[in-house]
Amino acid sequence: MRSSGFSFIAPLLVLMVFAFNLPILYMLGLAFWSKGQGFTLEHYEGLVEAPVYLRVLGNTMRIALIATLANVIIGYPLAHWMRGLQNRARLIAIALVVLPFWVSILVRTYAWIVVLGNGGLVNRALMWLGLTDAPVSFLYNELGVTIGMANVLLPFLVLPLFAAMIRIDDRLMQAAASLGAPPRTIFWKVYFPLTLPALAAGTLLVFILCLGFYVTPAILGGGRVPMISNLLDTLINQIPRWEQASAISTILLIVTLLIFAAYRRLDRKASA
């Protein structure tokens, strides 16, 4: 039985190995290979010696962290608010959260240029209100990149969080109230701990996605906010220095896998 099942998926497996896994392995291997020399760690040494690489890596981590934090600060209250809605309003809210999934990420990112640009909606509103004299530059800096990433990734946090919140029985909060707990205690001792696994899982997922983000930093950063994926683009398409690129990719992959392992553990706890 097992062998017949295997023969069914074998062609697919061959395709996967040759089309996806081998190129990845080849790419990872490049980082440890030097022409004429064989195995080497010199590309990693190169990374350490040229501080720009580590700076970009650190930069990426920081922006990812801020965007993730912004996501949590917006996403948690949003999911909680959705939980309290009546059926119809809730459906509309879910649709509004999911809607961005159906719009191309390029369109959404360019939309931010319209909103945040010097002559954009936000700046015109600020100047009309007299809050600023000159336009605030939201674009082509870290702020724009962070706003754009937070927006694009919001559904990845809100949906699992909402799913966890909706599973919490209202009677648990009522029980806590009947046992004498004030609203603050009910939130921190009962409600929040029950959403924590989903919150942690969603946060890690968003963080991982932030790390590898390309389109939004490229457009909203205008080439002035270097993140890992944009650096890789330069190293591969422009310079090109494939070995350096693969060394960076290897580091990014390891970091991502570590975070993903943590995510899996939390996710299993969340669904238990």
Binding site: D169, R171, Q174, A175, S178, L179, G180, A181, K189, L194
Partner: protein, 324 residues
């Protein structure tokens, strides 16, 4: 310890009155059961007393204090939910410690108080478990321990035994009654099971469509129901015609059976004889009567009548209760 008084308590959900002008007094230390079919407003009434809900009209007094506008946390009430509502992310002990922590009782004092409550409900040794690792009966006891650990003024129980199987339910009924007597806490229990209501309580309040039907001691409600609904809800009811077109109630235990042809009894035929252990229940068709069969419950002593046999049926005039 406190008494409870409801005055004209009404709760409307749109056109539905889940509680409709309910008056009730529960004395200090008394055990009162609210009995009614599903949807009659029992849970609504408890949630109003617990402060999880505000009445549309009427006033609620606990220990003489008007608490109608007080929040749940200001009322010091122990409430056991129909679904137990244990905190799934806490252990048994943490669940029982929760109301103490809220009251700023901590450390060894809280711990020993919690363990004592768990001992009262015979759960000692399970304090490290999660609710999901317990059986239904054990979860029920945790909910009970959590509701009594902080020495509440009153204890409210919403169908606490409803989800358990029969044997366990009967065991826990006895325990609950003993526990209530030990603590001397004013208790209001809600159930749709009339046997539970009759066996546990000092008094019962029968509820239907949010309206009080009767408040009385169990035996009185059973034998002298205020109306037809109470008569039928509390057990098997035989309705017999009385002079002047009125209707009378005769309970099955009050119906006497004798051999057919004996003077003084109405001739009847046995339709069905159901053996119940100590008792046999007969369904009897009175000869010349078109009405519903008469049900008799007779102690089983050696021999039972068989279906199809002719018997004589009689009851004392004193055992008839007129109902409207």
């Amino acid at each position: 310890m406190s008494d409870i008084r409801l005055e004209g308590v009404t709760k409307r959900y749109g056109p539905v009155a889940a509680a409709d002008d309910v008056d009730l007094s529960v004395a200090q230390g008394e055990f009162v059961t609210i009995l009614g079919p599903s949807g009659s407003g029992k849970t609504t009434l408890l949630s109003l007393i617990a402060g999880l809900n505000r009445p549309t009209a009427g006033r609620i007094f606990i220990g003489g204090r008007d608490v109608t506008e007080a929040t749940a946390q200001e009322r010091n009430i122990g409430l056991v939910f129909q679904s137990y509502a244990l905190f799934p992310h806490m252990t048994v002990l943490e669940n029982v410690l929760f109301p103490l922590g809220v009251r700023k009782i901590g450390g060894a004092a809280a711990r020993s108080q919690a363990l004592e409550a768990l001992k009262l409900v015979r759960l000692d040794g399970l304090e490290g478990r999660r609710p999901s690792q317990l059986s239904g009966g054990q979860q029920q006891r945790v909910a009970l321990a959590r509701a009594i650990v902080f020495k509440p003024d009153i204890l409210l129980l919403d169908e606490p035994l409803g989800a358990l199987d029969r044997k366990l339910r009967e065991e826990l009924q006895v325990e609950l009654k003993q526990l209530q007597r030990t603590l001397g806490v004013t208790t209001l229990l809600v159930t749709h099971d009339q046997e539970e209501a009759l066996s546990l309580s000092d008094r019962i309040m029968v509820l239907n469509h949010g309206k009080t039907q009767q408040v009385a001691a169990p035996a009185e409600a059973y034998l002298k129901p205020a109306n037809r609904f109470v008569a039928e809800f509390l057990g098997i009811a035989n309705f017999v015609g009385l002079d002047g077109g009125r209707t009378g109630l005769v309970r099955p235990e009050r119906v006497r059976l004798g051999p057919g042809g004996v003077n003084g009894g109405r001739p009847a035929r046995v339709i069905e004889a159901i053996y119940l252990g100590q008792m046999v229940r007969y369904h009897l068709a009175i000869e010349g009567s078109e009405g519903a069969p008469i049900v008799a419950a007779v102690p089983f002593v050696g021999r039972a009548w068989q279906a199809g046999e002719s018997v004589a049926v009689s009851w004392d005039a004193a055992d008839i209760w007129p109902v409207t």
